[in-house]
């Protein structure tokens, strides 16, 4: 059986025409997760401090966080999809650790995809707190 991890660099296709490698896509997933966490935290803090009171209900702020969560998850999923497409580019399979433009392209894509998976789960975990906790208490 041929070991699929032994892909030779000369067989690896080049980078897609017109593509420019950057790290922005890689950090997008965790950035969306961090922004969602920060905005949710701030929104609930302000709501409890200024609107509902220390023992008041979370009320409408839960809907706002629900909308924010849907937007964040969509953004993370789209970023993850972009990462997956880069990872699947060409014929090479894992691990993408040759020092070629093609493997760099695939490596960044795969890393983006994995980070988006982590960010997706973490964003859902943050949102779960307002599903089960319904008051500022």
């Amino acid at each position: 059986m041929m070991d699929e991890t032994q892909t030779r660099p000369e067989h690896a296709p080049e980078v897609p025409p017109g593509s420019r490698e950057s790290l922005w896509l890689l950090v997008s997933g965790p950035t969306i997760w961090a922004a969602h966490f920060l905005l949710s935290y701030l929104a609930v803090s302000v709501w409890c401090a200024k609107v509902a009171g220390r023992a008041g209900p979370l009320g409408d702020i839960r809907i706002a966080i629900g909308v924010l969560t849907a937007l964040a998850l969509t953004g993370i999923a789209l970023t993850g999809w972009g990462g997956w497409r880069r990872h699947r580019f060409g014929e090479a399979t894992l691990p993408h650790d040759f020092d070629t433009p093609g493997d760099r392209h695939r490596f960044l894509g795969f890393s983006t995809f994995l980070l988006c998976g982590l960010s997706f789960v973490a964003t859902v975990f943050v949102a779960l707190s307002v599903v089960f906790i319904r008051s500022c208490e």
């Binding site: 023992a55 789960v121 975990f125 779960l128 707190s129 906790i133 008051s135 208490e137």
Partner: protein
């Protein structure tokens, strides 16, 4: 196995056994153990703890079995496909499912633990360096202040309002519930509903200065009738001293300015800087849970305060005439 290896294994085994005994013996005292819950909330937290311990042991056993399988039972190279499924299943799907389950369980538990509905009793507790100011709100409207001791009626929900005038402390009665910080400028709440009568022990769980480790308190959970009698007695002013020695002690107590910091209701002493001493002789401990309550302990405490509790605000009164210390100790012991 050579004798040298045998010796090494024996030493390793005996060290492990000694460490295990040491580790487990620290939790033997039930009255300060979170593993022996005595309230509704503590039981919920303990249940979660034991489920997590059980689950952790099962996961550990499975990981060890897989390690044994991969290194001893079948040490040859494994297929890429099976390895990938192991990573996806054991490294991604399984942790996500377990952590999601634990998170949901914890999130469902939190509103129950923090609910302030259906309260039977309200108690304000202020953590101060290094003692506890305890104030019971009563139905009659007049609050009852005491110190370093909390008594609760079994089966009733008590709301604690926790504050601090100086630094951050943390209020913790391990058998009755999780710890809650006491933060200057904030009022945190905690609800406890004891399920068993008995005497427990609380402590400050946040480092708060040189005598942090000496900031403890006694907690007694009583039958509701006995609790009502106790609170009623605590609301009364102090009894006049009964013995001649105690009368001399009261005179010395007032003459030496103790009343500037301490209150003894029914006397001229009305200071609020230190603990209320109106019924100090009836308490379960002295000096915030560090000494017994008897005339010898009072004598020692008044004469060597700073040596017993370093950096405490109360000065040592060891310079008083020899006959005054025992007389004051007798007076304070009689404040039942």
């Amino acid at each position: 196995m050579t004798w040298r290896e045998k010796d090494r294994w024996q030493r390793l085994f005996s060290t492990g056994a000694a460490l295990s005994i040491l580790l487990f013996s620290t939790g033997c005292e039930r009255r300060q153990s979170a593993l022996h819950p005595a309230s509704v909330n503590a039981e919920r937290i303990a249940d979660l703890f034991w489920w997590m311990v059980g689950g952790g042991l099962i996961i550990w056993a499975v990981v060890m079995a897989i390690a044994f399988f991969a290194t001893r039972a079948h040490p040859e190279a494994h297929g890429v496909r099976s390895a990938r499924w192991l990573i996806l299943g054991g490294g991604v799907a399984f942790p996500v499912v377990v952590l999601t389950g634990l998170l949901i369980y914890g999130l469902m538990l939190m509103p129950q633990l923090s609910s302030t509905a259906d309260i039977d009793l309200e108690i304000d507790v202020a953590g101060e360096q290094w003692w506890w100011r305890v104030t019971y709100q009563t139905a009659a409207g007049e609050p009852v202040e005491l110190a370093n001791e909390i008594r609760l009626p079994v089966g009733q929900r008590a709301l604690f309002r926790l504050t601090s005038p100086d630094v951050i402390h943390s209020f913790w009665i391990p058998p009755l519930g999780g710890k809650v910080d006491m933060i200057p400028g904030r009022t945190n709440t905690l609800v406890l509903e004891p399920t068993q009568t008995g005497t427990f022990r609380g402590a400050c769980a946040e480092y708060c200065g040189s005598s942090h480790a000496l900031m403890k308190f006694e907690v007694m959970v009583m039958e509701p009738d006995a609790f009502a009698d106790w609170l009623n007695r605590q609301a009364q002013p102090a009894q006049p001293p009964q013995s001649e020695s105690a009368r001399q002690g009261q005179t010395a107590f007032l003459a030496n300015g103790c009343g500037a910091c301490h209150t003894v209701r029914g006397t001229e002493a009305n200071g609020t800087l230190g603990p209320d001493l109106t019924h100090v002789g009836s308490r379960l401990s002295l000096g915030a849970g560090i000494l017994p309550v008897d005339p010898e302990a009072f004598t020692r405490w008044i004469g060597h305060t700073g040596a017993i509790k370093p950096d405490v605000k109360m000065p040592s009164f060891g310079m008083l005439p020899e006959d005054q210390l025992p007389a004051m100790a007798q007076y304070l012991s009689e404040l039942q």
